[in-house]
Symmetry: D2
């Protein structure tokens, strides 16, 4: 599937501030970059650095006054929705070093507190079937309510309040997975057919020796997701981090299918 | 039912400290005090004051070194387990002033965060039937695990962790009730047949214009519960509050049936 | 000082909801009500009930669609700013039953966590001088930033973030006071010369056997404060509690001096 | 300085459980491993993996019943206490990708909440002088109290309570540093002259393009610290993580100087 991504960000910086953007579609085996371009006006020189785990690319810049950033990309996604059910998960003692950070609790994923719940609710299942049941539970029990959470909302908060947005759904799934000993990380993404269009947050779980993409919200087909960057939780995957103050003027994200 | 209550507290105070005891069986229409006696050695003069809402009695004292407190009481309890199912709850706008403190969220009962869950899980029920279903849910989903919670554990914590002790069960029931607009308060109590014997925490909910006693744990028959004092949550109902430091040496609570 | 109070509230209720208003100026020895009137359109019959501790008056009503509430009052305030410095505080073991709820930690006032800080910072002072030093510390270390806190912000949050609004200043002072064994409660109020005009939150501390009014923000003279109601923290003193959903359309609070 | 490290761990596992040990002295430019040996009885085969950031080594194993682990090492430490005062910190926009994880807030280091405090308290200083002032502040304002914190205690908790252990001191310093835009990470370590002997937690801050070791407690000379592993906060650097239940029987850590 060939997708066209268009992002515009308009922000106003009353004072000069350092900014870290994470907008670039990552180059990965199942998503090929045909072309992309990031242009920024109202900022000093752009300094690209690698994303977390070496996945994707982030850009440092210095902003002042009106910042206008445009990112466009054409990406070929060659991915089928993984059949989670057949996948197995190894005992934690067989996990490789590189996935260890993703079995720990993190700021927004307090997996250590969910062990009893996860055991009671999903203990009879294994591997991918367990992850699929977790995603089903989340879709069934949570209400997707725009504005119902904020930057401080954790998985435990969302679990109690039974509502959230994609970020909270992803946090919950990662939390449940880790509580069951399955490494899980957050992924920021562009998502075809996401309605309303916006940045999206999904999850990768480590099953059968590889990371498998899961959208806990079920709002966008996995075949049309373009990953930007990965991390332990929302802390690592913000599309823009401002070291200072700014106000949003306008922001748009569009994902269009070019083929088919 | 005639019950004999025996409490001994042995604590050591390395420095002088003020202490508030709440050990006395309250005098209430459904529990009649035949006799009781509080004796304390290792303390300055005892100063009794009323309990919260004028229910029960608390005692101020000054402790230093070895404190030895003994409380004994004989109480006639004339109470049947309330049939919750037939009781109705009024709209909040009809609630009297004296129960208003018990519809608010409190430190350990974050009822404002549970509204969606309570509506989804218990929304089809009303009045006492709803409260009974809440207590059933708690007994079914929570595991009673000694030592699994501490003085900082809130209802939301216990809900996430799916375990707790009587204090947490009571907090959860009060939280669910308040989230449904039913006033609910915590009650410290002596409980016949509680195993192992200890101070107990139960709940009163306001239904059909009166407070109704419910034991969220189901560990002790309501007919054998002797209330000590009431409050918004565990904050108000501690059997001993120490304004300073002390260590417990020994502590026993015994409840014996004298008749039948 | 004779003050005229004018409040208008315009809210929209998409669904019928119960509402508890707490707008009435309380009748107290140091504030005499000359006249007042609460009129509400867009609501069912008004049902007045007493405020917490029997102070002030609250009003239950049923709202649907456009709610328009107007409260006007003329109040004579006869109060001098208390000289805190000369006032003493009793040992907690001498406190009467009615002030006990105000020595406990509460949801927004986690005084149990501040004991070491309060001892280190204010331990050399006693009574009113200690409270005055606490208020000075708060005014010196905190920044008053509109919009910097929300309904979940506790005293500990504000202490860490070093910013807040009147509610947070009041929570901090009450927290510090309780951590030092001085009963303290929150008070909602109208305040002459408060800029910008709004509902205000101040504190009462129990010193020398009486409640003493303190404005932790120092933004309004204590002589021009008209108390509405009191409580353990912000939980108890909201001017409007909505049991359902509503949106604010407009809201004004005006306090005008009529004499002098 | 040549140091001998001896660790013994005796734990009892009522049920089989996976365990991750992080006991090995890391091989780093300023600490050379002369020899070391980890022996474990009561466990299945040991599976070594790299530590976080490739620093140090961790060991997976399967435990059941009595676990007895012994780690001994001889290490040459060639490190002077860094003169923090002369070191500069770059603007965040010049930071390399590999230190980015250490400018974010993390579970135990809520640096986003401390920006105002850090600016007010340390805003007049730069680079290493600022970090040194932070460490001084922590040593001056915090009380080291064994048992005063637990595995849930965050930097904000410790800041409010003004007490903690080495873990909390390290969290606070890392939090302050990140709030000032200086990358900071937690380091588990063996420490010569630490009294009482135990595992230690210290901090590395990124100044002048390198990680600089700081002991926020000041309890052990930096010249005698042997690093084990690093991470975002206590989450990553536990010396033993048990995926199940176990009880400690005995545990000793000894660090002896062999030369000098």
């Amino acid at each position: 599937m060939r997708l066209k991504i268009d992002v515009t960000l308009d922000y106003n910086f009353p004072e000069p501030a350092d900014v870290l953007l994470a907008l670039d579609a990552a180059i990965l085996p199942d998503q090929h970059l045909v072309s992309d371009l990031l242009t920024v006006s109202g900022a000093g020189p752009l300094r690209p650095i690698a994303g977390e785990e070496g996945i994707g690319r982030r850009t440092w810049l210095r902003a002042e006054g009106a910042l206008h950033a445009v990112y466009t990309a054409t990406v070929d996604v060659e991915r089928k929705a993984p059949k989670l059910e057949g996948l197995t998960n190894a005992p934690v003692r067989d996990l490789p070093a590189e996935v260890i950070p993703y079995i720990w609790p993190s700021r927004y994923c307090e997996s250590d507190k969910f062990e009893a719940f996860v055991q009671a609710e999903f203990g009879g299942l294994e591997g991918g079937a367990k992850i699929a049941a977790m995603a089903d539970w989340i879709r069934g029990e949570m209400a997707y309510v725009s504005g119902s959470s904020d930057s401080q909302t954790t998985a435990a908060d969302a679990f109690v309040q039974r509502q959230g947005v994609c970020r909270d759904y992803a946090h919950l799934l990662a939390t449940f997975a880790r509580a069951a000993g399955v490494p899980a990380r957050l992924v920021s993404a562009y998502a075809w057919r996401l309605d309303p269009p916006d940045f999206h947050a999904v999850v990768e779980v480590w099953l059968d020796g590889a990371w498998r993409l899961v959208d806990a919200t079920g709002m966008a087909p996995v075949e049309g997701i373009v990953r930007i960057c990965v991390g332990r939780d929302a802390t690592d995957i913000a599309f823009m981090t401002i070291f200072g103050a700014a106000e949003m003027v306008a922001q748009t994200v569009t994902v269009t299918r070019l083929d088919g």
